[in-house]
Symmetry: C2
Amino acid sequence: MSTSASADVASADVASADVARPDVASADVARPDVASADVARPDVASADVASPDVLVIGGGVIGLSIAWRAAQRGMRVTVADPEPGRGASRAAAGMITPISEAAYAEKELFRLGRESQRRYPAFAAELTGITSEPTGYRQTGTLQVACDADDLALLREHQALQESFGMTVRRLDARECRREEPMLDPSVRGGLLAAEDASVDPRLLTRALLAAAVMAGADVVRQPAAEILSARGRAAGAVLADGTRILARWVVLAAGWNSGSVAGLPPGTAPPVRPVKGQILRLRSLPRGPDSPPGLLARSVRGMVHGSSVYLVPRQSGELVVGATQEELGADTRVTAGGVWELLRDARTVVPGITELELTEAVAGLRPGTPDNAPVLGPSALPGLVLATGHFRAGVLLAPVTADIITGYLTTERLSGLAAPFTPQRFSRPAGARLWK
Amino acid sequence: MSTSASADVASADVASADVARPDVASADVARPDVASADVARPDVASADVASPDVLVIGGGVIGLSIAWRAAQRGMRVTVADPEPGRGASRAAAGMITPISEAAYAEKELFRLGRESQRRYPAFAAELTGITSEPTGYRQTGTLQVACDADDLALLREHQALQESFGMTVRRLDARECRREEPMLDPSVRGGLLAAEDASVDPRLLTRALLAAAVMAGADVVRQPAAEILSARGRAAGAVLADGTRILARWVVLAAGWNSGSVAGLPPGTAPPVRPVKGQILRLRSLPRGPDSPPGLLARSVRGMVHGSSVYLVPRQSGELVVGATQEELGADTRVTAGGVWELLRDARTVVPGITELELTEAVAGLRPGTPDNAPVLGPSALPGLVLATGHFRAGVLLAPVTADIITGYLTTERLSGLAAPFTPQRFSRPAGARLWK
């Protein structure tokens, strides 16, 4: 006679493939920084010690995409993450909307996002083709709406910015907005429709990426990296939390906001990432009968609500993701009364019908923020150590292009021109010479 | 590198004592309505079949309180509940505030609540004395506050009602309210202080009750009752969902909103209970250091907020319970975006500081409502079947007095005068003769 139910925050297990490999690198392998052998590719006697070509630290969308692509190119890859897909990727809404993340100074970042967006259909189709796992990829567009006169003015500025970037967006009046999305509140004043925008379900995506990486030959070790190892002035692998040493020619640091705090990084190589908290909600439509209406929204809606901002991302399953707060509170992942209240307040201002939906989850994730809100991509000052972090709010969007850039570098030792504005070195330039402030 | 956290809705297990008794009544016991033996107290040959004096159907605060008290009086008691303490008791806030639940026509209900409140200190102390389990009982009072002129008018009506019932309440002006509770919003216009009010933690209470009942000799079978058995015009026990038959002299139906729908109830005996959904939130203060301030509130606060109503119940642990919606939606236990939003909206109007608190749980429970909002206590039209249900919002408050009333009846076959207005028979009287409409 259980008569109570809870907002279910139980963890759907992201990773299903059993890919943990015991005894990857045995404990008696000499610590590379004291060994005399070529520790960059150590010639280890013990047969049960594998030394991959690439050790990827971090198994979120970025790390798993890189692992998959690198393994596809024939590299031996090991991913180290205690819980693949359980970090910022798990909280993310999965919008593939390059323009919305770009601000005035960020044309280069917009271009990178646009390029990743262009690659998404093939990326998602290939993943599903190989693994039979869905990714939730849908190209249904984004409708950006404004709720009052000030919001409308902001919307016009957005339109001008988007057009200056060469984007085609369609301006809709209030009536056209409601024709596109009948559940919008009558007070919505106008909108911008970006038909090319898409979305993906990040939890499905990480599951598919994990399966694809493993199918391509990658190993996944469920341990966090405790320390980066280096020898002869070059990154040589890492020690994991359980003491396991993994020696590798390349170390790719893709550990999100944790990337700057892994031990063993020589001075000047730690990427300047910090945690930026985001709270996000998952709502669910009632189970649908054959005659039931479809979900509340046909496409992602971004609302500017009296100066505040909210997005609602619908999924084919009936799930509706509402996000997100942006809080500078350090590594705090508490869901707060105020965060949930603000999201619900703004979401119901735009789409009042959400009040009827089940609230199935409230979660907080930590995005890897950087001083200029752009990612950190490419070789660090320590040879052999490659950075792929700092994607802030755009990790899901930027996963395909990041994987191509990093894998290209690992195989050719040349960095794609796409990544030129995003190298780690930009943070060591004199302030006046930086692209971003 | 797990960087996300969830509003923890994981279930603290209410019942810890391992009290399930296997093979209570074996499957080959003759079905009492076809047996010729005295099935009211059957003389069963098989040694592993126990026939208790009392079978209590339902292990919430009401059923467990009755089981404990009846076992203390030497009766052999079995409680049947698939998950003791997991129904409405688990969702409840635990306010012991008899006046706030009473409306104009409900003076008799107020008297019953007042009597139960009077018994609470000894009830809680005895429970903890026997089991060493805390109940969270605190007599810290209730402050009822009003937010606008209309709310203030309502508050004055409440005061008049309370005084007509003989209660002593103290009227506070806005400044006095904030002196008592400094975290109240400056817009609070005035309040009523009921110093005798108390609160209890219903999850701790059910755990303690379960332990006390078991220590007093009661058995707990973790199965729902599937059917009430009767023989010779008298209740004789029940069949549980797994087929187990338990024969007993007395059957006490204390299954909350499910009490009316158990099979086997002869016409006219099913109590008129319906589920009334309540959504409730649990917030938590940040972990306190030695120099940290105490929780936001010193006592329970009931807010009248622009015609809506909300309560905030602080616990010694730093937990703050915010409730509750009241929804007529049948047996629906979904937590909804709208329910959570309304609770947060009203709670932050009264105490803005709640926005900083962690939201640890949102839960919906189903209260057993009746046509007159009062409980159904005492013998039903079927001899041997005793009802203890329909406590609506006041199950926690009314548990001590309900247990005394029902146990008194089981041992003497006379019903306390306290229960006279609450007998099942009131619903079969002609409408004009009913106490409640």
